[in-house]
């Protein structure tokens, strides 16, 4: 009986100690408050205002450390996009381009493919985005290799039409006006050192297929 009472008393004591730090309203400890503010500031993405009020409930551990310090503070709806893994690109390039660029098969290591039945959050780097552009360019050369539209160099009108069509198809949504004009400007001004019109179009097509609207989902 005495043992049981002691156990219950111990449980109450431990529970009480846990409660002491569990729900934290106003914190009068200036060191802790400063530490929490600093950690929150470090976690808030630059340019974004935290939506969580400073008087939110926080939780202190036994050692006085804020258990919510590593909580990501960001407006709802941010960071919803993810970079497509290599396994997704393997199907997506042929789907949008209508052909399978030969380079794609050799790029597993470049896109850090973790292999079958493994998952790893995909991250991009300078080499992988340039490789994505190369893959797209190869496929776009086939795409623009035939058809009267691509036999002549891009003009403002033809580039706007082609960019709109590619962006809609590759990104699975209607592009914004600014996105179309950026693409069209590149087609008409950024590719002029290329003398072959079909290659000019391929460069433009590859840019649309290297945008985040295609490489992420």
């Amino acid at each position: 009986m005495r043992t049981r009472i002691a156990a219950v008393a111990l449980a109450i004591l431990l529970g009480g100690a846990g409660c002491d730090g569990m729900i934290q309203g106003a914190d009068n400890n200036p060191t802790r408050t400063a530490k929490k503010a600093a950690s929150k500031a470090a976690l808030t993405p630059p340019g974004l205002d935290p939506v969580v009020a400073p008087t939110e409930r926080t939780y202190l551990g036994f050692d006085g450390v804020d258990l919510a310090a590593s909580r990501v503070v960001a407006p709802a709806g941010t960071d919803r996009d993810r970079i497509k893994p290599y396994s997704a690109l393997m199907g997506d390039y042929p789907r949008i381009l209508g052909n399978a660029p030969g380079l794609l098969d050799t790029m597993a290591a470049t896109f850090a493919d973790p292999g079958p039945r493994w998952y790893q959050e995909t991250k991009a780097n300078a080499v992988s985005v340039y490789s994505a552009y190369r893959i797209a360019f190869e496929g776009c050369l086939t795409l623009t290799g035939s058809g009267a539209t691509y036999a002549a160099a891009p003009t403002a009108a033809s580039a706007t039409a082609a960019c709109t069509a590619w962006q809609t198809a590759f990104w699975s949504r209607v592009p914004a006006t600014g996105e179309v004009s950026t693409c069209a400007n590149f087609a008409t001004q950024g590719t002029t050192t290329e003398t072959n019109p079909r290659r000019q179009w391929a460069y433009t097509c590859a840019a649309v297929a290297t945008a985040g609207q295609f490489l992420t989902f």
Partner: protein, 403 residues
């Protein structure tokens, strides 16, 4: 009025740089540059290579004499090597080039951390979320587009790998793709013109801007990749011979992925020659969290069989190459404690470099403790000093082992 600055020193520097270029040309296969190099004094290019053994770095390698009296980790007077000035290392380091042995130091880090996550974070990140390797790469300056890079699929084991200034952490997971991005792809109609591709990626970056802003964390690497990719394409093309590199490291010329330690060291050499300031190698092929390895046999075997052969190749090709100042640091979360090879609350690292003086500030006691030894930022300040970094981003270097 122009003033001639030609001195005996500049002549020697120019000769050394020219010799370095000739050495590098073994890999680049380029000979045309020699015609114009004679009139220039090329400053020495520094690169810090961080070899991180994920799990820990046993002090038996870099403070071997600490364990001889009690035969801890099976250290005896016959399996250690005295390099002078108080530095005694494991005899397995005899497999490294003599120049490396003559320019090796043990640097102590008394970080008081014995948890993997906390030590990993602290070793690479300051309290404000700045990543030490990226900070160092930024401070070292230079013109290379890819200034800080991790080779292989393993990321730096840190929560924060944020950009610092204009420098972001990049990755190299395939050497053929990397050589292509640097301008060394074989001439082929399917290879895009670099100037137009740079313009194309600039348009891509503009088209993607809203999406990047909406996902500042999850797409951070994509935003950095566009910026660095554009800069890379705007640099003059660099030509490398992958078969030559592969042959030097005993690899197949058709296997270009950075998938094991051998290929990581080859990729490190590639990035040194490409002008990177900091190259990170996270070694995960072997397990370095060697609990129970009381006689050190497991880490000795891993070091001898897997690490030292490719490392010796790298060091013999890079450490004493004129025109280059390569600093290589071996470290991990912490040293291994006694008696069970568990987690010691400190770390002793091995650093080699052209301007590193033989000696030690990280000799541990017989029970693997360090006393009055500087902490993590001071370790990075030593690396910065050994790399002759133009500024001191981590403060003054307290380890007096830089020539």
């Amino acid at each position: 009025m122009s003033q001639s600055r030609f001195t005996r020193r500049s002549l020697l520097q120019g000769s050394a740089a020219l010799a370095g270029v000739m050495t590098a040309n073994r890999l680049t296969g380029s000979h045309g540059f020699l015609g114009t190099a004679h009139a220039q004094v090329i400053p020495e290019q520094s690169t810090v290579v961080c070899l991180y053994l994920l799990g820990g770095y046993n002090a038996l390698f870099c403070s071997a004499d600490s364990f001889v009296p009690a035969n801890s980790f099976a250290c005896t007077s016959s399996n250690v090597m005295d390099l002078g000035n108080g530095l005694v290392v494991d005899a397995s380091f005899g497999a490294l080039p003599s120049f490396a042995q003559q320019h090796m130091a043990t640097i102590g880090i008394n970080h008081h951390l014995s948890g993997h996550d906390t030590a990993n974070n602290a070793n690479f990140t300051d309290g404000a979320g700045n990543c030490y390797p990226v900070m160092l790469a930024s401070a070292m300056g230079g013109t290379s587009a890819i200034k800080c890079v991790t080779v292989g699929q393993d990321d730096l084991p840190s929560n924060s790998i944020n950009p610092y200034g204009a420098v972001s952490m990049q990755k190299v997971t395939d050497m053929a793709s990397t050589i292509a991005a640097l301008g060394g792809a074989a001439s082929d109609p399917t290879v895009p013109n670099r100037v137009i591709a740079a313009s194309g990626l600039t348009a891509v970056q503009a088209m993607t801007q809203q999406r990047l802003l909406a996902s500042p964390r999850s797409l951070q690497s994509l935003g950095n990749a566009y910026s660095t990719g554009i800069s890379t394409l705007m640099q003059p093309a660099q030509v490398f011979s992958y078969p030559t590199l592969a042959q030097a490291y005993g690899m197949s010329p058709t296997s270009t992925g950075v998938v094991d330690f051998q290929s990581k060291m080859a990729a490190a050499e590639l990035m040194v020659l490409a002008g990177a300031n900091v190259v990170n190698i996270i070694e995960t092929q072997d397990g370095w969290d060697t609990h129970g390895d009381s006689d050190g046999s497991q880490v000795r075997q891993q070091m001898t069989q897997d690490i030292l052969p490719p490392l010796a190749t790298f060091l013999s090709r890079m450490l004493n190459t004129p025109g280059y100042n390569v600093v290589l640091a071996i470290f991990g979360e912490f040293s291994r404690s006694l008696p069970g090879s568990d987690h010691a609350p400190n770390l002793s690292s091995t650093v080699m470099g052209k301007y590193v003086q033989v000696g030690t500030t990280g000799r541990v006691s017989s029970d693997v403790t360090l006393s009055s030894t500087p902490a993590i930022p001071q370790f990075w300040s030593f690396l910065a000093a050994a790399a002759h970094c133009p500024t001191a981003p981590f403060g003054a270097n307290p380890h007096p082992l830089v020539m």
